[in-house]
Amino acid sequence: MRKLVATAVAGVLAAAMPATAQDALKVGFVATFSGPNAALGEHLYQGFMLGLDHAGGKFGGMATEVLKEDDQLKPDVGVQVVRKLIERDKVDVVSGVVFSNVMMAIHKPLTEAKTPMISANAGPSPIAGKLCSPYFFAASWQNDQSHEAVGRHLQTKGVGRVFLMAPNYQAGRDGLAGFKRYFKGEVLGEVYTTVNQPDYSAELAQIRAAKPEAVYVFYPGGMGVNFVKQYAQAGLTKEFPLYSAFTVDATTLPAQGEAAVGTFTAAFWSDDLANAASKRFVADYRKKYGSAPSTYAAQGYDAARLLDAGVKAAGAKATDGTALAAALKQAKFESVRGPFRFNTNNFPIHDFYLIETVKGDDGQVRQVNRGVVFKDHADAYASQCPMK
């Protein structure tokens, strides 16, 4: 007990020490690291740190210190840690952030402090549209883009009647709206379920009764595991092909296993892409962490690559928020997704691929890239952003 107290006191003292090093680059990395939803944060962080390794441990050649902070998936705690990073630790740039609600909460303090933010995951629509900021950059995507890609794919494929499902929260409603932006066929049902609902039997019965040509769902994380398992268990996969976004990915696939075989999704990247940056990333990620990288890890990696290029371009002025933001906007770097450029709202314009989950000859379940469904896809909100 006494030792615990001693360490605690030491921790407080260490935390209270003011920043001293001046010409080092300080990066705040905020994500959800504790509690039940911690898996994605860890993926982002691992990808980001691999990006730092590839930059020789120094972004843009500057000595770099990464401060890891946990937002606990609570928006007010997110604001708290971001204030700490800005006011006490005096960081030059912030990255990370898994969940949109945390991103929305910390957007204002970051923008007001003129501290550049490189999102490694969350890309909520308000920040892509009206609330866009010269200090905000998405190294990931705008939330709706994957949904739009699946909608577009089903539209080109000529599918007529679909059934849609998502959790009853903002991201769910935005997601299905994004899908319908490019899918013009008939929507037989649009069901919003309670957030973190464990059992979907009632809704699966509705799908069976509606007899759609395809089903499209958005169930991130544990909800996706529950849904996909129950969908396959009810024997629906063969009758009604399942399309999804953020539902079947490297983080959920180990828990879904064969239940996910035969389902389709869309993503900006998959680990079998042929470009050199992606191949190097996948190989070194396996070497460092001993597992295949997820799309989340790829986003974390791209966030680091973007920052590296931005700091290099800004040179000695990288510790000035405005200068760094301007450099980030122009930054050229080798993204794992191949071609990458920013739209006027600092969200990427990039390709989307159709991804199928298959069972290989070796019995392993994996995701295979089935080709581009959307070339140079820009998000739908850029026109609302006043930036040019």
Partner: protein, 310 residues
């Protein structure tokens, strides 16, 4: 007399904190301290019903949410007067407490814990589906609230305003507890049957305390939004209600001022433990269990015991 001196000293130190923080250039701690004051206010309000009325509410985060959305909804419609925000928070929080209290107070003990939890969850799901006000993603407020000439977007100003609310709430609750009203409340807690037999209107007193507590907690919710410029259903999850109860217990149940120490203890603990290890929740959990098993009167009890030994 010595007690008064101690409290006056504490208050003086609290008032001077932002100036001291500014002098040494550590303005971050003003924000942290504001957070403590806000949760302290909520904990004091909860202690009024929990400690003095024996009503263990596991749904008090709902009131935080009501206060939060009072500020959020007015601000999106361009009304930035904190006076209007607070009046709405008090009215809405009080009304919700009245409506749910009428039902919940028909039960007691564990059923009361559960029914408050249920009402909290209902409001949470309602907020999640509030599409016009951000739903689950929440709502960023771009304009700070104003109180007459005061700009609540200014960290130190908000700190002092929160401090004023906390002190006012403490004084109010103290007077109330010492008044005949408070005596009825206490009597009904220690022996409800006897209190009823004496002809005391137990139900109405409890309801009044519950409404007051709800209104004060709503103010805490409003202040939380002034501090974060952000509203979200995450403010009203049931874990948040649990944390409020933990704060009250940590500080010492039925001591009112204990809520202040409990809030400070829990928030600082999170801050320190999170710096130590990613698995800090394990340490916090163990600490809570130890607290429940060993000391029954929280930080206040611990202080007393230390004083007795010294």
């Amino acid at each position: 007399m010595a007690r008064v001196a101690v409290w006056a000293g504490l208050l003086a130190a609290a008032i001077l904190l932002p100036i001291a923080a500014d002098a040494v250039g550590e303005t971050y701690y003003v924000g942290l301290a504001t957070r403590i004051l806000v949760f302290a206010l909520a904990a004091v309000a909860l202690d009024l019903v929990l400690g003095h009325g024996g009503m263990v509410s596991l749904g008090h985060a709902a009131f935080l949410g009501i206060g939060a959305y009072s500020v959020g909804i007015w601000t999106t419609h361009g009304v930035t007067s904190a006076g209007v925000h607070w009046a709405t928070a008090i009215a809405a929080g009080g009304a919700f407490a009245l409506a749910t209290g009428l039902l919940a107070l028909r039960t007691a003990g564990v059923a009361f814990i559960m029914i408050t939890l249920a009402f909290g969850q209902m409001l949470y799901f309602l907020a999640v589906s509030l599409k016009g006000y951000g739903g689950d993603d929440g709502l960023t407020l771009w304009e700070a609230a104003r109180l007459g000439p005061l700009d609540l977007g200014h960290d130190a100003t908000l700190y002092w305003v929160s401090l004023a609310w906390l002190v006012a709430a403490l004084l109010l609750c103290r007077r109330l507890v010492a008044s005949p009203f408070g005596l009825v409340l206490q009597a009904s807690r220690s022996n409800e049957r006897r209190a009823r037999a004496l002809g005391l209107e137990v139900g109405r007193h409890r309801l009044a305390a519950y409404v007051l507590s709800g209104a004060l907690t709503s103010i805490a919710g409003a202040l939380l939004v002034h501090a974060t410029d952000f509203v979200s259903p995450a403010y009203m999850g049931w874990q948040r209600s649990g944390e409020l109860v933990v704060m009250v217990i940590l500080g010492g149940v039925g001591t009112l001022a204990g809520g202040v120490f409990g809030a400070a203890a829990l928030i600082l603990l999170e801050e320190v433990l999170a710096g130590l290890t990613q698995h800090w929740m394990l340490l916090l959990g163990a600490l809570l269990i130890a607290m429940a098993l060993l000391s029954r009167r929280g930080v206040a009890g611990l202080l007393d015991r230390l004083r007795g030994r010294a």
